[in-house]
């Protein structure tokens, strides 16, 4: 961090990233036609304050603005509006200082040189990260050990599995011995074992005193890893708290998923279920069935009543599932949509 700086690891205020939709042809440019492209905000005024030493998650569906936010913090994109400081350095005016102190995983294994060995890849990037020659060998060995690839360091990357490549990308991000790590969807495309493995490595990084900002659309991952989570949707932070704090925002302890055989009386049935539960978190028709999600304080009390209501409306409940409240439910209650929609 900047000498004398005592603030948070990340301090972003009013971050906005605007893009144009559509295209403007060369002919239009030459003729100086007015630019009629629609402007849209991929990130729409995000404020983030990530304290040092915490694992902070940004949770949201695809297209919510998570990656764009990460790229702005990683100095790859210039914000249209707003400011962001990383460890006290401005991401636009002091980009090089930010890059010296930050490691980032914003891509998958494609960003490695597959015809080089893991060690050769890291040797190249160590030079790009300005690692002093005397420290290079130690730094590379430490990074490989940290991601448990030290025994395969002299294999070509093309012989690695997807999970190993992703771990090597993480090792690359560790080369500058970063105070802050940005991880964008680090477990996408990994099998459960590799994902678990990577999450363990992230916890190790926090134990070493590093700050981690990660984006994900896997709610379990955010729930298990993060000290605090910002839920983003349509480029805005819609909620920010600890995982348990977020779950407490729902006035319920259980979630009931009902699968009901669709009938012409659906509207009446839904209306009565809503009156019984207070509100329906989600409802949709799928393959001739009506899927209803309800947040309740006691499933034991609600489910029998739901069966009675269905019976009275000549509908049949085909399946009932009762689960504890998750971050997915928080997201649904905030946006009316599921994370993967």
């Amino acid at each position: 961090m900047k000498p004398g700086y005592t603030g948070p690891a990340i301090d972003a205020v009013g971050l906005v990233k605007e893009y144009e939709r559509g295209r403007r042809t060369t002919w239009q440019r030459v003729r100086r036609h007015p630019d009629q492209r629609e402007r849209f905000r991929a990130v729409d005024g995000i404020d983030l304050r990530v304290e040092r030493g915490e694992i902070f998650g940004v949770l949201g569906p695809n297209g919510a603005g998570k990656t764009t936010t990460m790229k702005m913090l990683a100095t790859l994109l210039e914000p249209t509006e707003g400011t962001a400081r990383i460890l006290g350095y401005d991401v636009v005016r002091e980009a090089r200082d930010v890059r010296r102190r930050m490691g980032a995983v914003l891509s998958d294994g494609r960003s490695l040189y597959w015809k080089l060995t893991a060690r050769e890849n890291l040797e190249y990037f160590a030079a790009l990260y300005h690692v002093p020659p005397k420290e290079q060998a130690t730094r590379i060995t430490s990074a490989l050990q940290a991601v448990k690839l030290d025994d395969r360091s002299d294999d070509y990357v093309e012989r690695y599995s997807t999970g190993m490549r992703q771990r090597l990308v993480l090792a690359r991000a560790l080369l500058p011995d970063p105070e802050l790590l940005l991880l964008d969807e680090p477990t996408v495309g990994l099998d459960p074992q590799s994902s678990r493995d990577l999450r363990d490595r992230v916890r190790d990084l926090q134990a070493q005193g590093r700050t981690v900002l990660l984006t994900t659309h896997y709610m379990e991952e955010a729930d298990q890893l993060c000290d605090r989570i910002a839920i983003v949707d349509h480029g805005k932070v819609v909620a920010l708290d600890t995982p348990s704090g977020l779950k407490r925002t729902i006035a319920a302890t259980e979630v009931v998923h009902l699968e009901i055989e669709s009938s012409p009386a659906d509207a009446a049935l839904l209306s009565r279920l809503e009156r019984t539960a207070g509100a329906l978190a989600r409802q949709e028709h799928e393959n001739g069935t009506l899927q209803v999600t309800v947040h309740v304080r006691s499933a034991r009390d609600f489910v029998p009543v739901a069966f009675d209501v269905a019976h009275e409306e000549n509908a049949a409940i085909k399946h009932v599932e009762v689960v504890p409240v998750t971050l997915e439910d928080v997201f649904i209650s905030l946006t009316g949509r599921a994370l993967r929609e």
Binding site: A74, L128, D177
Partner: protein
């Protein structure tokens, strides 16, 4: 890695430290390219074969057209300043191949990184953008030396062209003076990659202009006046002319100083322009998010 190393405040390195680190990164980029090249050994055969095969075809063509008649060779010598037809053509083509390599080099290197998906990873490092731009083509200097070495060997062994160590040293000097101008051009094409995501059309056009105007296979004295003016505004004209002068006509370095000065000035101007253009296009890419788009 220890916790203490990550949490202690780190002072920003001095500018000199940064320059040293960037120079090491240049070396690492060259090493990386060399390692990648070694994984495809068949490329070495191409590098050995092509610098000989292409000019040789033109030597045969020239012999076919002239019929080996002394009058024809005299006419050529009057225009070219040397009767060494093979040397003239071999040097022209070797230069053409090197220039092609450089024009494609930085742009293609960036494009390859972009398509591979590693460009953003490179741009997230604190290394100077000049390393990203020119680092991968450092290894091409070795190839250029190799190519000129092969051509020199063929000329000496098979065509009896008298090239001694002093001539070779002078030629090396000419090549080094030409490096900034040619790499400046290459860097301009790299800016085109960041701006438009494609560089082939422009490289082909410029390469065509060089082939027509710079006298790769003919003496530029035969060009019309307006075309000669174009030729004299292009760096390869001086490079080819000076290489032929030191290797085939026995010119010394001092007599070439005016031309080399023009070449060096062109190099400074082109490199300055390329750096400004690259910074602007990088900014454009960071504003529009086109670094990862291709």
């Amino acid at each position: 890695m220890t916790a203490s190393a990550t949490t202690a405040p780190r002072p920003t390195p001095s500018r000199l430290d940064d320059v040293r680190a960037d120079l090491r990164a240049f070396g690492a980029a060259g090493m990386k390219e060399w390692r990648l090249l070694r994984r495809y050994p068949s490329l070495f055969i191409g590098f050995l074969f092509w610098p000989i095969a292409l000019p040789l075809a033109y030597v045969f063509q020239a012999q076919g057209y002239s019929g080996g008649q002394p009058a024809a060779i005299d006419a050529f010598a009057q225009r070219a300043g040397t009767a060494e037809i093979a040397g003239f053509l071999f040097l022209g083509w070797a230069t053409y191949m090197w220039i092609s390599m450089i024009l494609w080099g930085p742009g293609t290197a960036l494009r390859t990184e972009q398509v591979r998906g590693s460009l953003e990873a490179l741009f997230m490092t604190p290394v100077s953008r000049m390393v990203i731009l020119f680092g991968p083509v450092v290894s091409q200097i070795a190839w250029a030396l190799w190519m000129f070495g092969v051509v020199g060997g063929v000329l000496v062994l098979f065509f009896g062209v008298p090239i001694g160590p002093m001539e070779a040293l002078r030629a090396l000097g000419v090549i080094l003076v030409a490096v900034p101008a040619l790499y400046g051009l290459g860097a301009l094409f790299a800016s085109v990659v960041l701006r438009f995501g494609e560089v082939s059309a422009m490289v082909q056009t410029v390469r065509g202009v060089f082939t027509v105007f710079c006298g790769m296979t003919f003496p530029i004295i035969i060009l019309p006046v307006w075309a000669k003016a174009v030729a004299l505004s292009l760096p390869p004209t001086y490079l080819i002319g000076d290489l032929r002068a030191v290797l085939l006509k026995g010119s010394d370095f001092v007599s070439l100083v005016p031309e080399l000065a023009i070449l060096a000035a062109m190099g400074l101007a082109l490199c300055g322009f390329a750096i400004v253009a690259f910074r602007r296009t990088e900014r454009y890419a960071r504003q529009g998010g086109s670094l990862a788009q291709y």
